[in-house]
């Protein structure tokens, strides 16, 4: 449904029709059909919603590689993107806040991208328009949605967004991250920091546990008798062996994790009294970081392309929505298969999407999709670990083909080099998104 009729439907997927052929058909039929945006504007139009790891990369690659042949508009409400990646390092005191902030200026200046600072609030898939909170709408030939995540209401009893200042999630970076850091630093001597960890699937599988490491790093210096409590609904977590080895080595006795076998999946929070109730037992805490269950950013649901689990299923070869071939979904919001929800993954998917979009709207070559991901985590000063994998597109999903992970017991030299590598990655991916 919603593919449109006649001429419109020819824009679906890579069906072998060149843009010129489509135009010819469109001109012939233009008396009968309302002209697609491509005729009105002279250039095919791409609208990208969300200027994060997926959206900024896609906008930049489509605009850059089409050399002006495609009109690209990026819709993003914030003027500066504060990356979740490395936001834990900011909490740990390894990065300045300003160093994880990025402006959209170069995307406009260097690539002619029209950056609109607004929220997308609706998608009309028949008319192929995106409505903006500030009024007005943008028409598109292809729409790219990379809105990241939103939280599932009611997933942690006692918590909703109105409580995010007392019990921050800090799982969208920015003022939430600053707030959580300040609360950790303000903990009384010997106080308790509690994290309510999310169920699968969620953005950045090692993210909560890297955060625990960074919180421990800070408390060990400033408040060494403080305790860290993790309430976790999952039996296992990413890089578990590496994290637990590191916590034992650097933060022995400080961190306690309560998994589902001890009620980690039966939690209620009471923000007013700063209490966390675990399987009926009340714990008083001093800082509480609630990371709720997650789903695709709301605009994906408003566009009507999400499944019951709240994610947007996509075709692996092109990142097109399975519900509408005119829409591509990237990053955390997509349900694509084996890739973890990470900035690296979103960036990788964006390049495949950009190639597919250019292929569909111009005559550029299309190569087989390939994807990769590496996630670095910092456990303590100069103690970095990583996990990575390669992926290919199958008709069913993005499928993992190969991978590696850091080993327990690695030398300090290897761990330091791994950390330094992560600095190089951060610097490169930032440029790959925003330069």
């Amino acid at each position: 449904m919603n593919q449109g009729e006649g001429v419109m439907s020819q824009w679906k997927g890579n069906n072998g029709l060149s843009r010129r052929q489509v135009l010819a058909t469109a001109v012939a039929a233009s008396t009968a059909l309302s002209a697609p945006a491509v005729l009105a504007q002279g250039r095919p139009r791409v609208v990208v919603v969300g200027g994060g790891a997926g959206g900024a990369t896609a906008a930049r690659y489509i605009a850059r590689d089409s050399r002006g042949a495609v009109d690209v508009t990026l819709v993003e409400p914030t003027r500066a993107y504060y990356s979740c990646f490395f936001s834990n390092l900011y909490i740990g005191g390894f990065r300045e806040y300003a160093s994880i902030g990025h402006s959209y200026g170069a995307l406009a200046a260097n690539h002619g991208i029209n950056v609109v600072h607004d929220w997308a609030v609706s998608v009309d898939r028949d008319k192929r328009t995106v409505g903006l909170a500030g009024g007005g709408s943008l028409s598109y030939d292809r729409l790219v949605l990379s809105p990241g995540i939103d939280f599932k209401e009611g997933s942690v009893a006692g918590w909703d967004l109105s409580q995010q200042n007392r019990m921050p999630h800090a799982y969208k970076a920015g003022s939430q991250t600053q707030l959580l850091k300040a609360q950790i630093e303000a903990m009384p001597e010997g106080g308790v920091y509690c994290m309510v960890a999310p169920p699968n699937p969620f953005r950045c599988p090692p993210g909560p546990y890297e955060r625990i490491s960074m919180v421990a790093h800070v408390l060990k210096q400033t408040n060494p008798t403080a305790k860290i409590l993790i309430v976790d609904p999952k039996p296992k977590f990413s890089k578990q062996g590496l994290f637990e080895e590191g916590w034992q080595r650097h933060y022995a006795g400080m961190i306690e994790r309560i998994g589902p076998d001890f009620g980690g999946d039966k939690v209620e929070v009471r923000p007013a009294s700063m209490e966390v109730v675990i399987d009926g037992e009340v714990n008083k805490v001093d800082a509480c970081n609630v990371i709720p269950a997650q789903q695709a950013g709301r605009i994906a649901a408003l566009a009507g392309i999400t499944n019951d689990a709240g994610w947007a299923p996509v075709v692996a070869h092109t990142m097109q929505s399975r519900a509408d071939g005119n829409i591509h979904v990237l990053g955390d919001a997509s349900q694509q298969g084996d890739m973890p929800k990470s900035g690296f993954s979103a960036n990788s998917q964006a390049k495949v999407c950009a190639m597919a979009v250019r292929g569909a709207l111009t005559d550029s070559k299309v190569y087989p999709a390939r994807f990769s991901n590496t996630c670095w985590s910092l456990i303590a000063t100069d103690d970095g670990v990583k996990v990575g994998a390669s992926y290919e597109a199958t008709d069913e999903k993005i499928a993992k083909t190969d991978g590696f992970i850091s080993q327990t017991g690695e030398s300090a030299e290897v761990r330091k080099a791994t950390y330094e590598e992560s600095l190089g990655w951060y610097s490169a991916i930032s440029d790959d998104m925003f330069s």
Partner: protein, 224 residues
């Protein structure tokens, strides 16, 4: 054994040992008669030269600035640089953590002094990494890659390697000579160079794809 006592005379150095240590530098630098720029600049007549000053090599802005600011490659400066390159020139593109032992550096510099200057002792330049070193088929170097395909494949590289050739923690690869690029990736692909992430990337690249990437990054080096 060649021994050499520098002007300061505080230590005696073993140039023969230095030659063996130079094997680490050889991946990127040539020195001796016929030496040319490879991944790094050639090292002929390096003693006494201003940093970042050779024609025809794309230095990092940091290295150029260091030279403009008065850094000259005296033996002492080279010794300091080798011990930890980025302590002396932060954001240098030289991808080398440092040579910790002072005697190693002294030996290396002794050999470099013999090979770098003019005169009868100067050996012919050895090639940087060769296919034979890794047991690779030299035919791999003759494949002509499609730089446009390379440009698409390079999307996987630029998530970690800065395309402008700047570097921090991860080596710059823009502008690398074709052969050096192919040899490095082929060596990762076959597990002869060790790095889990690079082996992962290289394992699924075909010989044609490696050639395509080499062509792309060579071309990218010529862009302003």
């Amino acid at each position: 054994m060649l021994a050499l006592v520098p002007a300061g005379g505080a230590w005696s150095a073993d140039a023969e040992r230095g030659k063996a240590l130079y094997a680490q530098c050889k991946r990127c630098h040539q020195v001796g008669d016929g030496a040319a720029h490879r991944i790094g600049p050639h090292l002929n007549d390096v003693f006494g030269r201003a940093a970042g000053s050779l024609e025809g090599f794309r230095y990092s802005p940091a290295m150029k600035a260091a030279g403009a600011g008065g850094l000259v490659w005296t033996a002492a400066a080279l010794d300091g640089f080798l011990s930890e390159p980025r302590a002396l020139v932060p954001r240098s593109r030289m991808s080398y953590a440092g040579m910790k032992e002072a005697t190693d550096r002294a030996d290396l510099l002794a050999w470099l002094r013999l090979s770098s200057g003019g005169g009868p002792d100067r050996p012919a330049a050895e090639p940087t990494a060769t296919p034979e070193e890794y047991g690779l088929d030299p035919q791999l170097l003759t494949i002509t890659g499609d730089p446009d395909y390379g440009a698409y494949l390079a999307g996987e590289c630029t998530t970690c390697h800065r395309p402008d050739g700047g570097e921090e923690g991860i080596p710059a690869i823009t502008g690398w000579p074709h052969d050096d690029f192919v040899i490095a990736l082929q060596a990762y692909k076959r597990g002869k160079r060790v790095h889990p992430a690079m082996q992962l990337v290289a394992r699924r690249l075909s010989d044609e794809e490696i050639a395509a990437l080499a062509a792309h990054f060579r071309r990218a080096g010529d862009e302003p």
